[in-house]
């Protein structure tokens, strides 16, 4: 029979992680997507990582996910952002070859053990008694499953805008999913509209590269995944930089009335942080220039992605605009920039497991939840995949807390607060930023992943080796002492200016801000660069981390106090009507989550706590 443990709809970044996680978990999984050859397609700039985002990508990797491994097989330009700052805020960014990336993802999926991939378009869902039963394709085929993950990205009711022209579509060259959108709009879920945009693509050979300044990648070249080898990486390329100027800005002002955003044609809300060049010129009129990165789309691709000039002006204006820029005087637009509007579902309608609150067995992940970005999509995909598998096998949901992972921050923000704009990760969203680092995503998550059965032997081995090596090294640092006036002490003084006046352990010396691990006498253990980072960070941040741990402990108790599903907030004595209403709508799953809802005061939490305690006693 046509029945699967889990069905994933959509082969984007959320969908592929979800499908692969289910398959690794060991449940029979089906991935349905429009076009197999576009599985793992990057709709926009082919870059993975960046601040906050690389943290997500590494966390997905630490749980055995695909994204970072695929990025390393396709990475043609690596940089570590914030490299002069501390470990907590350093972030790797990889420019990838779009085709290699897609190929790597498809390659991984083809060897995924329990996965079937099917080409098709889902047009309807069969829901009975508020429970998902099956999905129906455009050919009328009915496929059954009790757990369905919807990862349809920007495709639901997608409308693309270039100038005042609009057309329906999920992204350039792909149809939108209108029938499914209609079906979903009829369900008890809150729908909203968001928009995002992309710049025009330029032909590589039409740019005068001699006028642009090159921006080489970092050496030594980092890797994104904990398990990748340097040998898997393709050849490395440069990126280039140029700038807009007064003339560019004048062109934009002249054509503003033809912009769908400024003429009021687009009703969806765009992100505050990723403004189109129109926005930038209007909002920051005092700046006479904005930077543009010219990024290659791939090793053999003729396309250049001019990062920084996302626009939805009409093609004629886009041509003028490009011409005004240094080095782009004769550049040819291969594909115009456009803005896209699409449906998303208010994520406060979801549980932390990403299952919808109202329809059992139906999970949402990715852009459909109001996020933007590949990494954000992948992070939700893997969590939805894990939880759909757990549901299929009658097990309790898997959740990550805010102090455990950026994934936890992402999902908790979405589910507790909802979003009014496309949600993107930033490190400033994480209150435990010093704990959630690139260098320790594996230390935070790999054991959890292994327990779930989704971590490969290779990753597990690497994790254990790193864990053992860092523990040994820390022991050594604590045990080995440095004496004043020895050659080693003199060397440290010379390199860092830090004098050593009495016998002191290497561990204590490393606490000093200017001293790095590399300044200390070497031990016998060979350490990977991210192990060194982890050691340095945990020592240098020690005091701050202790403070954060106290905070976390305080929250933990509330985190562990569940609120029963069917609680009647009217019965809780003393709550204001406003708070009652907020809680009744949001239906938080624990006290801690209730406390993070806007407008819910500490006093209200106390009242709730007392009520719960009383109820439990009355029952037990």
């Amino acid at each position: 029979m046509n029945k699967y443990d889990v069905i994933v709809i959509g082969g984007g970044h959320a969908g592929v992680e979800a499908a692969d996680a289910c398959s690794r978990f060991g449940v029979k999984t089906l991935l349905i997507t429009h076009d197999k050859s576009k599985t793992g397609e990057m709709s926009c700039n082919p870059a993975i990582g960046g601040i906050g985002k690389s943290h997500l990508a590494k966390e997905v990797d630490a749980l055995g996910g695909l994204m970072a491994r695929a990025a390393d097989k396709a990475g043609i330009h690596y940089r570590v952002l914030n490299s002069t700052k501390g470990q907590a805020v350093r972030a790797t960014r990889v420019q990838t070859d779009r085709d290699l990336y897609k190929a790597a993802i498809q390659d991984f999926l083809s060897s995924s053990p329990n996965l079937t991939i099917k080409e098709g378009s889902v047009v309807d869902l069969d829901i009975k008694n508020s429970t998902i039963k099956s999905v129906i394709t455009e050919k009328g085929e009915k496929i059954f499953s009790n757990s369905v993950i919807l990862t349809t990205g920007t495709f639901l009711g997608g409308v693309m805008h270039t100038g005042l022209e609009q057309s329906s579509g999920g992204r350039i060259g792909d149809p939108s999913s209108d029938k499914l959108a209609q079906k979903l709009r009829g369900l008890s879920l809150k729908v909203g509209r968001l928009k995002t945009g992309t710049p025009p693509r330029l032909n590589k050979h039409s740019i005068d590269w001699s006028l642009l300044s090159p921006q080489p990648g970092d050496t030594p070249t980092p890797l994104l995944s904990y398990t990748s080898q340097a040998s898997e990486r393709p050849e490395q390329l440069n990126c280039y930089m140029t700038r807009t100027n007064q003339k560019t800005h004048q062109v934009i002002l002249n054509h503003l009335d033809e912009s769908p955003m400024y003429s009021g044609l687009i009703e969806g809300v765009g992100p505050r942080y990723c403004p189109s060049i129109e926005d930038k010129v209007m909002r920051f009129s005092e700046r006479d220039s904005h930077q543009i990165f010219a990024e290659p789309e791939g090793l053999n691709s003729d396309l250049i992605y001019p990062n920084g000039i996302s626009t939805s002006l009409p093609l004629k204006a886009q041509k003028e605009l490009i011409k005004s820029i240094k080095g782009f005087e004769n550049a040819k637009i291969v594909r115009p920039g456009y803005a896209i509007e699409y449906d998303f579902f208010d994520p406060t309608g979801l549980k932390h497991s990403l299952e919808t609150k109202t329809i059992s067995g139906l999970f949402f992940a990715g852009q459909i939840n109001g996020t933007t970005g590949y990494e954000e999509a992948a992070a939700q995909g893997i969590v939805a995949g894990i939880n759909a598998s757990l549901r299929a096998t009658n097990q309790e949901a898997f959740e990550l807390q805010r102090d455990e992972a950026y994934i936890g921050v992402l999902i908790d923000d979405l589910v507790s607060l909802g979003t009014k704009e496309p949600y993107r990760m930033f490190t400033s969203r994480a209150e435990y930023r010093l704990i959630l680092r690139e260098d320790n995503a594996d230390m935070r998550l790999t054991e959890k992943g292994r327990k779930l059965g989704i971590v490969s032997d290779l990753l597990w081995q690497k994790y254990q080796d790193k864990r053992d090596a860092t523990n040994k090294e820390i022991l050594r640092l604590k045990k080995d002492k440095l004496k004043p006036n020895t050659p080693e002490a003199k060397k440290i003084k010379k390199q860092t200016g830090e004098g050593i006046s009495s016998n002191i352990s290497l561990f204590e010396i490393l606490k000093r801000p200017k001293v790095l691990h590399s300044h200390l006498p070497k031990g016998e253990i060979t350490l990977a660069p991210n192990a060194v980072d982890e050691i340095e960070a945990s020592i240098k941040y020690e005091g701050y981390i202790k403070r954060q741990k106290i905070d976390i402990e305080r929250l933990q108790r509330n985190e562990n106090t569940p609120i029963p599903k069917h609680i009647n907030y009217e019965k809780v004595v003393g709550l204001s009507n406003e708070v009652k209403q907020k809680l009744s709508e949001a239906r938080p799953e624990s006290l801690a989550r209730a406390s993070r809802l806007p407008g819910v005061t500490p006093a209200a939490i106390s009242l709730l706590m007392i009520y719960l305690k009383k109820e439990r006693k009355a029952v037990g």
Binding site: N45, I51, G52, L81, N82, K85, G86, A88, V89, P271, R272, Y273, C274, P275, K280, R283, F284, R287, H290, Q291, F293, N307, G308, S310, D413, L417, F426, T427, S428, R429, A430, E431, R433, L434, P513, K514, K540, Y541, Y544, R547, E553, R554, R557, V573, G574, P598, T601, P602, A603, S606, L607, M609, I610, Y611, K613, K614, K617, A618
Partner: protein
């Protein structure tokens, strides 16, 4: 038992007088008390001791008793300090304990802890909920009143400044590619130093504020011979002031502090005021009466009930006392502002005192005013410390993520006083300040 915070607060209504009890509950109670008082006696036994600060200076001589979990008020380890009933001492003891790791309790937190540890039976649950609810309401009122005007404006100003600093620092972290001018970090440091100085000044003012408001003073005023001195003597239960039939007996101020329902109130007897004072001495006395009126929280305008006279000295808040009611014939009854009294028989004094307490606003709410003020002080103090930490990190070669962490903590400490801000609000500020995005 609850493994979380160790909380502390006065267990008696504050005021100068008698003994003040300060209660501390939680895991750290015993060790904090031992660092302040030396080794404690066996559980449930009092020990006489000097309460000392970590610097070694003596705060007070008093007694300390340790209640071992679970046989205590809250069910956790509890320590009670019994010290002299002076608000400054109470403050110092609490501050010391806070420095050692305790936190000032939320309104109703002791009761709540007791409830959660199942020290209070279920029947009482609803009333506990009511209590917390009521207290959190008065806490709001209290917070507003203790924060009115200037103080909250200043906190607001500081918060705006800290937000601006955070915007620069966070933008530098989250958007390193966005050409944000790094030199602004220098000016951030200077501004933070200014804010830090500002906090210290605010702190010293808050401390003074605490002292100013901790006692109550009531002036006894009225025409000569009405029985003002007699009232003072009645309240003091002692012949402190000379009384006589001769009008203009009292010339000097006579003060006495009386403990009324646990609150210490200072009463000041004044010279009777009349239009044609006899000689310069009486005139001076009247002048002083007027000054006392200005400084007091409330006046009792004493009149001879048989011959009520006009009294045209401006009074702030006042109650009228119609004295010598024993001489009246027929029926008489009190109103909201007028009270019949006989100093000779003592009749009517209870009712007068009840009205007086109510009018001074000394009720349950007062505890929360006191506590919330104290919490503000502590928030300010930790805000100041976090700023100091941020300034230090900025000086030490700019470990930006640590600067950011200290600023976040400073922001949340001060934000607790008036308005918390979410991470998303902060991002909004960043986006409006800098041109960010691709």
């Amino acid at each position: 038992m609850s493994k979380n915070r160790t909380i502390i607060a006065p267990a008696t209504v504050p005021g100068r007088g008698g003994v003040s009890i300060i209660r501390m509950s939680g895991k750290l109670s015993k060790s904090i008390a031992e660092s302040m008082c030396g080794e404690l006696a066996d559980a449930w036994r009092f020990k006489r001791c000097s309460i000392k600060s970590r610097g070694g200076s003596k705060i007070d001589d008093g007694m300390v008793v340790f209640f071992k979990s679970p046989n205590s008020y809250t069910g956790d380890d509890v320590v009670e300090f019994h010290c002299h009933g002076n608000p400054t001492i109470v403050n110092l003891v609490i501050e010391e304990a806070v420095d050692l790791g305790a936190v000032v309790a939320e309104p109703g937190e002791f009761t709540k802890t007791a409830f959660l540890n199942e020290k209070i039976d279920l029947v009482q649950a609803e009333s506990v909920a009511d209590l917390i609810n009521a207290q959190s309401k008065t806490a709001v009122v209290a917070a507003n009143s203790s924060l009115s005007g200037e103080f909250s404006e200043q906190i607001s100003f500081l918060l705006d400044g800290i937000v601006k600093a955070r915007v620069v620092v966070e933008a530098n972290i989250d958007f390193p590619e966005e050409e944000i001018d790094v030199s602004v970090l220098e000016s951030v440091k200077e501004e933070l130093q200014d804010f830090h100085a500002e906090i210290n000044e605010l702190l010293s003012r808050v401390k003074e504020g605490v002292k100013l408001r901790d006692g109550y003073s009531v002036a006894i005023v009225g025409p000569p011979n009405a029985g003002k001195s007699s009232l003072l003597n009645l309240l003091a239960k002692e012949e402190l002031a000379i009384t006589s039939k001769v009008p203009g007996t009292t010339r000097d101020l006579v003060k006495t502090s009386v403990n009324i329902g646990g609150v210490l109130i200072e009463f000041v007897d004044t010279a009777g005021v009349r239009h044609d004072p006899e000689g310069p001495i009486e005139e001076q006395g009247i002048q002083r009466s007027k000054e006392v009126i200005k400084k007091s929280n409330l006046c009792l305008l004493v009149q001879d009930a048989t011959t009520v006279q006009g009294f045209d000295v401006g009074l702030g808040d006042f109650l009228t006392v119609l004295n010598k009611s024993d001489l009246l014939e027929g029926r008489f009854s009190n109103t909201d502002n007028t009270f019949y009294l006989s100093c000779s028989t003592g009749q009517g004094v209870e009712e007068l005192l009840k009205a007086l307490i109510a009018r001074l606003g000394i009720d349950e709410g007062e505890e929360t005013v006191f506590l919330s003020r104290q919490r503000h002080e502590i928030s300010l103090r930790s805000g100041g410390l976090f700023l100091e930490e941020a300034i230090m990190s900025l000086s030490e070669g700019q470990v930006l993520e640590l600067v950011a962490e200290s600023l976040r903590s400073a922001h949340s400490a001060l934000g607790d006083i008036i308005r918390p801000m979410s991470a998303d609000d902060l991002l909004g500020e960043i986006f409006s300040e800098f041109c960010i995005g691709k």
